[in-house]
Each structure stands twice: as C-alpha cells, then as structure tokens.
Amino acid sequence: MGSPLDNTEIINILIEEIRETVPELEGQPISASDSMVDLGVNSIERSEVILAAMERLDLKIPMVQMHGPKNIQELADLLLVKSAG
C-alpha cells in the first residue's frame, strides 16, 4: 500500500466489499454502525468480505485474528490496528 489508510477509508472498503459480495443489498443504506449479521450477510459472506478487505490492505495474518468485532466500525478499527503492525 502507498500512504497509510485511515479509518474512514477502511470503512469505505468494507462497505464496497459487502456490496460486491451481497449484490442483493443494492439500494439499502449501509453505515459504520451496522453489523454484517443484521444486514443479512451470512457467515461465509462475512469471511469473504474480511478476506477481500485484507487483500486490498495487503494484510497477511491468520483470519482468526480478525474475530470479535461487532460492527463495521469495530472491524475497520481492528483492520487499522493490524495494518499498522
């Protein structure tokens, strides 16, 4: 990656990947406080979103380290921390 991303950019990446993975959500607003579970994103799709975001951030760590966040904001926070090493 070039310059370090900030939290907002990671949130945007996550929302883009959610829309890419679950096209059925088209037209439905998605905000940082939403949880993927509540949006109807199933467990397979949730892991795909996280994997895709990790790929875009060039983050190579075990998936299990991404377990825990309750919503998109918390997930972005964790990705930011992990990206910073």
Binding site: S43, S47, V64
Partner: protein
C-alpha cells in the same frame, strides 16, 4: 514389501431416518431466500435405538462380509474415530470388534480430535501398513458420529441453533491395507496446520457450543496452511493442476465453496467465473452424499471421497486431494490415487440406494425425537429401547443385516440384528 498403502474398501452408512433441511429451516423461521447457496438437502437423524456403535457396525459389516475367513482373520487393528463416544474409558471399537466377530489378536482403540478424527485414524492405519511390522495385516478404520445435542435445556437448544440444519449423522468404514483398490495414498505427501482455538466444542455429553464465524475463520486458515505445508513437502504441487478431484471436510457445501474460493484466489488469483467452473468440476461430485446426510464430523471428508468416486466419470487413474479439519483445531491436506476400479467397487456398496431407503421424518416426528425423552443419555445404567417411538421408521421386515440398540443392563449395551 509392496510400499503401497491406502483404502482397500470403503462404505458409508447414513442411518435409518432423515429430515428435509429446507423444511427444517422454514420451521425454524430462518431466512431461506438464499438457501440454495448453502448446498444442503437432507440430513440423517439418529433414531433413539441407533447409537455410534450401530452406525459403525452397519457401515463396516458389508465390507467384512465380503472378506474370506483367512482375510478376516488378518484384521489386526480396529480404530474408531469419533466425538460421540459412549464412555470415558471403554472405546467403541470393543463393541464393534465383538459385533463383527473379529479375532482376538487385534488392537482396539479410539481417536478423538473433532472432525479431524477420521483423517488421524486413516493416517495411523496407513503408517502401520507402510511400516510392515505385520506384513499382510488389515486395519479397520471407522468414523462414527451422531449429533444429538439439544437435550439438556433451553439454553443448549439455543446454543445449538446455528449448526442444527447442518448437523447430521453417519459412519464411514474403511479397510486399510497394502492393496489400496479404492485410494492409494501418496506416502509422505501430506501437510498439517494446527493451533489451539475454541471455535466449536462438546463441553458436555448433550451439548455443543460454538461460534460460526470463528470456526469458519479457523477452517480457512487451516485450509491455506495445510496446503502450504503439503506443497512444501511435495515438489511441484499445485492446487489447480495437481488434483483432478478434491474432497474437503464438509460441514455443509457452502462452506467448502467458500474455502475453495479462498484458495483459488490466494494461490492463483482466479476470477469468479473460473472459480465457479473449477468448483463444479472438481468439488461438486464430492457433495453427492454429504448433502444427503449432513455433517458427519469425523467421516465427512470420506463421505466426500465416496461421493467423488460415485458421481465422477473415472476412466483413468486420477489424483484426489483431501482436506480434513477438526475444530480445536487440527487439519491435514493429503492425497491419493483412484482408478476406474475404485469407482466400480464403491458402487457395489449401493450407498445411494440405502440412503433412499431411509425413513423421511416429518417435522413433528423430528421434534418428538429432539425432545429427548426416549434417548439413552450418556452414563445411563439400565434402559429398554422403544422401537416403536416412530412406528413407521421401524422396518416391517428386515434381512437380519441391520444392527439396532435393544437395551442396557448394568451399563452393558445389548444390540440386535433386524
């Protein structure tokens, strides 16, 4: 000394009853708009008079019956692989050994490591054969698991909810020898990936606890990690081109699809169309039986192998890549070679026909079973089984080749053939 080892015979037993998974999801009020993506159809449901012993014996008997007296006397090890044990000390293999009428010069024991148990058992057996410590010996490896959790209380029912649609029941029996007509294992070609994680567990006899997201993440980490270890050991191994078919541990088809997608992206930067096409070609056959019995835990990767051998067109020797994952967690990627003979031998077992004959439970009947009133709980001393709990599920006339649990007297389980 042949230097060959692997699976000489294989059989899958999917029990006496099953349930339509879509009906269950509708009944539970789950969102079924994208149900097809989960790649589930039916699941086997163990009746109260079916236990891990009856499943194991019913899977193994057709294999043992095919052997001559001399061959049968060379079965020198019976390994049961399970997370559904009936006793903390005594292994299921002791019951299996007796009910199959095997010789007393035999090692009997049990292996536990969640859904990885079957692969662990197979590797133990294969290494016994490869070591040639007893040339010509045969080993019986039997995975047997049933899911009967939602019994303890309402909380247990709640904890189980996420895995209820996929939790199945089934046993896989494999005869392992130096005549591997079903699958010749590539000796030394394997890769492991393991680490401690609390993703899914069975903390009590009637309960299962777990976190679907964490379990999926651990599965994905293991899939990539085990294949990497395999490719470090096997020169030139390539996920896309080395294996004609793939068999993965299958909690449900959708999860396998997710794991395959990840590997194709990670190792080959493949695009969605290519990934889908590859999945259809190399993994769809493996779902043949799994989507009819549900998650069979320790046996799931071998249920997948049986499906691949049954459904695919095998005209020349093919290399099959297998991935086993067991929560907690340990995993292995390994491989072997199957031929057209593997396919014809597998088909002789009539697995699909036996699955067709299972009794299809109504939701009401399933709920009756789930209430657990007629189930023999872990640690029960005395019990008489009610074979008429679901009258229609009991065979009108049997051939004497199906084993059921009859009663328990002073902890001793007594079985009968019907």
């Amino acid at each position: 000394m042949s230097g060959l080892a692997g699976i000489q015979a294989i059989n899958v037993f999917g029990g006496m009853a099953c349930l339509d998974v879509r009906e269950l999801c509708v009944h539970r009020g789950l969102d079924t708009s994208r149900f097809e993506n989960l790649l589930m159809q039916e699941k086997s449901v163990a009746l109260p008079y079916e236990d891990p012993v009856t499943f194991a014996v019913n899977a193994a008997k057709p294999i043992v019956d095919q052997l001559g007296e001399q061959e049968r006397s060379r079965i020198e090890m019976v390994i049961t692989c399970t997370e559904s044990g009936l006793d903390f000390g005594k292994s299921l293999s002791t019951h299996v050994h007796k009910l199959l009428g095997l010789q007393p010069n035999c090692r009997l024991f049990e292996i536990k490591q969640a859904c990885y148990s079957g692969a662990a058992g197979l590797q133990m057996a294969v290494n016994f054969i490869l070591s040639q410590t007893s040339p010509g010996a045969l080993t019986l490896v039997i995975t047997t698991d049933i899911s009967r959790f939602a019994l303890a209380d309402a909380n247990a029912v709640q904890e189980w909810a996420y895995s209820e649609p996929s939790s199945g029941a089934g046993a896989v029996a494999m005869l392992v020898s130096d005549m591997p007509e079903i699958l010749q294992l590539d000796a030394g070609a394997y890769g492991n990936y393991a680490f401690e994680v609390m993703d899914t567990c069975r903390p009590g006899p009637d309960t299962e606890a777990g976190d679907a997201d964490l379990s999926l993440m651990a599965y994905l980490d293991c899939c990539a990690g085990a294949f990497k270890d395999y490719s470090d050991r096997v020169q030139g191994a390539d996920f896309k081109s080395t294996f004609s078919q793939l068999c993965f541990h299958t909690p449900f088809g959708g999860m396998v699809k997710g794991a395959h997608r990840q590997l194709m992206r990670k190792f080959h930067k493949a695009k969605p169309e290519e990934i889908q096409e590859d999945f259809e070609q190399r993994l769809s056959p493996s779902l043949t039986f799994g989507q009819r019995v549900g998650n069979t835990a320790g046996g799931s990767v071998f249920v997948a192998l049986a499906g691949t051998l049954d459904a695919g067109e095998i005209n020349e020797p093919i290399r099959i890549g297998l991935f086993s994952y067991g929560s907690g967690c340990c995993s292995e990627f390994f491989s072997g070679v199957a031929t057209s003979k593997s396919q014809s031998l597998l088909k002789e077992m009539g697995i699909a026909e036996k699955l067709d004959k299972r009794y299809r439970l109504s939701i009401e009947e399933y709920e009756t079973l789930l209430s657990g009133k007629s189930v023999v709980r872990f640690g029960t001393k005395d019990a008489e089984l009610d074979h008429q709990i679901i009258p229609s599920a009991w065979p009108v006339s049997g051939n004497g080749d199906l084993l059921v649990l009859d009663n328990l007297v002073n902890y001793q389980r007594n079985y009968k053939w019907i």
